[in-house]
């Protein structure tokens, strides 16, 4: 977008982008803008996967990717950038390989790091557009604030279970009018624990495919100026009922970033602002095999199952049932004198229970059963019912 040199295409590129170029409203001019553009995609997960694939395929000339994580087998249900061979490897490295195989005519820049208040402005400043597909409130506010402070449009998308949200924030229209940003829509985040993350609450795998594709669409519209970007509007999609709604949203005078009396002029401590960590500290884990060895060797321990009664009725391993929502109220039933293994179906809810117990009651003896009862069944008791 900021490139003054004429953008030219090789014969291969012209052939590749032919279906774009022949759209009258798009044409060579929009394709040139794509090639000149620099887009930063924050998070190469559920939303980042489809967004990156389509942005690369479409010919965005420079794509930056911020991620610090490695590919986990539980990612593959929705993170379509990655295959089985990528498990355990760096996400950004694997993403680069996949995207370069998809389109060798583009430049991929890797930021193999966690986005923080210290590095965000430095990373974002070289890009024209930010596409935010992160998974936690501290990073959402960080990306938003950095984009606003730098004057960059921020294509926002978020998902949870069956619901998706999309909007284009901080976009200045041709007439100079600036659109709202995330703080206009949601001035403050929910208190910790009130809204679960996808890791805890789950997400239907195809949903980020739909919403991340919409994010790529809006990113392309922002770059090319083709069509009407989703500015001042807020789209939500309910996959369960197949309903989508688009609401009108406005800038607010009390926005601390760019309202009438701005109070935020530089990046703040977003973990403190949100009362939660952007990246949770690791909890102790135990594999089914290790737990089995404890049983065999007669180690003293207690096992807690934090699933729901109906799940327990389907299959259980004889643990004490304390559903996640009742864990705090039943903390006195959990031993502090011996090792305690906490499990759920796959390991997400039990991790949450452990965090809650550690934070509120100071437990230090809790172990999360890796992969939950499903992995236990796979590795130790295949005769049990899986669900």
């Amino acid at each position: 977008m900021s490139n003054n040199n004429p953008v030219t295409f090789s014969k291969e590129e012209l052939a590749r982008y032919n279906r774009h170029i022949i759209i009258p409203e798009f044409g060579l001019e929009a394709q040139q803008k794509l090639k000149a553009a620099k887009v930063l995609v924050v998070g190469s997960g559920g939303l980042g996967s489809p967004a990156l694939l389509y942005l690369a395929a479409a010919g965005v000339g420079t794509i930056g990717i911020v991620d610090f994580d490695v590919v986990d087998d539980s990612n593959l249900q929705r993170q379509v950038l990655f295959g089985v061979e990528a498990i355990g490897k760096s996400k950004v490295e694997e993403a680069k390989k996949r995207l370069e195989a998809l389109n060798p005519h583009i430049n991929i820049i890797l930021h193999n790091t966690q986005l923080t208040s210290q590095n965000a402005l430095d990373i974002l400043k070289d890009y024209d557009v930010v596409s935010d597909g992160t998974d936690n409130f501290p990073t959402r506010y960080l990306v938003n604030d950095a984009a606003v402070l730098l004057g960059k449009p921020n294509v926002y998308a978020s998902i949870f279970q069956f619901e998706g949200q999309v909007s284009v924030f901080n976009y200045r229209k041709a007439d100079g009018e600036l659109g709202p940003n995330y703080r206009d829509l949601y001035p403050t985040p929910p208190p910790p624990g009130l809204v679960p993350s996808c890791a805890e609450g789950g997400v239907l795998g195809v949903l980020p495919g739909i919403i991340g594709s919409l994010q790529a669409l809006e990113t392309i519209k922002v770059i090319t100026g083709v069509g009407e970007p989703l500015v001042g509007r807020f789209y939500i999609f309910d996959a369960l009922n197949f309903e989508s709604r688009t609401f009108n949203i406005s800038r607010r005078d009390d926005n601390p970033l760019n309202g009438k009396n701005p109070s935020i002029t530089k990046l703040i401590d977003y973990e403190q602002f949100c009362g939660m960590k952007a990246v949770e500290k690791p909890i102790k884990e135990i594999t089914p095999e290790e737990l089995y060895n404890w049983q065999v060797t007669g180690e003293a321990f207690q096992v807690i199952d934090v699933r729901e009664q109906q799940e327990y009725d389907i299959v259980n391993i004889g643990a004490e049932l304390i559903p996640l929502s009742t864990v705090a109220a039943n903390a006195d039933r959990i031993s502090k004198d011996q090792k305690v293994v906490v499990h759920c179906k796959m390991g997400g809810r039990s991790a949450k229970a452990i965090r809650e117990l550690e934070e509120k009651f100071g437990f230090e003896n809790l172990y999360n059963l890796k992969g939950g009862i499903l992995r236990w069944i796979d590795e130790v008791q295949p005769e049990l019912t899986k669900y």
Partner: protein, 92 residues
């Protein structure tokens, strides 16, 4: 009766009902009716002062009640009210 669309994360507090009918004539009455019928919703919709939480948006038709008359925004029998809380997922 106006219709209230409950978002996925809050449906567990409304017996998994996505759409509810309310007899209310404004948003305040709508919220009162919802939290009376589904007490577990209350902490998700209202703060300790009884104000709508800042991470929950309520739209009447397509418009944010903060751009209308806030809780005093009138609702008609054919009005569709949407409750849209912040969600942060996307990556994990």
């Amino acid at each position: 009766m106006a219709t209230v669309i409950i978002p996925t994360p809050l449906r567990k507090f409304t017996n998994n009902t996505a759409r509810l009918q309310v007899a209310a004539v404004n948003i305040q009455q709508t919220v009162d009716e919802l939290t009376l019928n589904f007490p577990d919703l209350k902490k998700h919709l209202l703060d300790d002062q009884g104000q709508i939480r800042s991470f929950v948006n309520i739209f009447v038709g397509n418009d944010d009640i903060r751009d209308l008359q806030q809780q005093k925004t009138a609702v008609q029998p054919d009005t569709v009210i949407s409750i849209v809380p912040a969600i942060a997922g996307g990556y994990a």
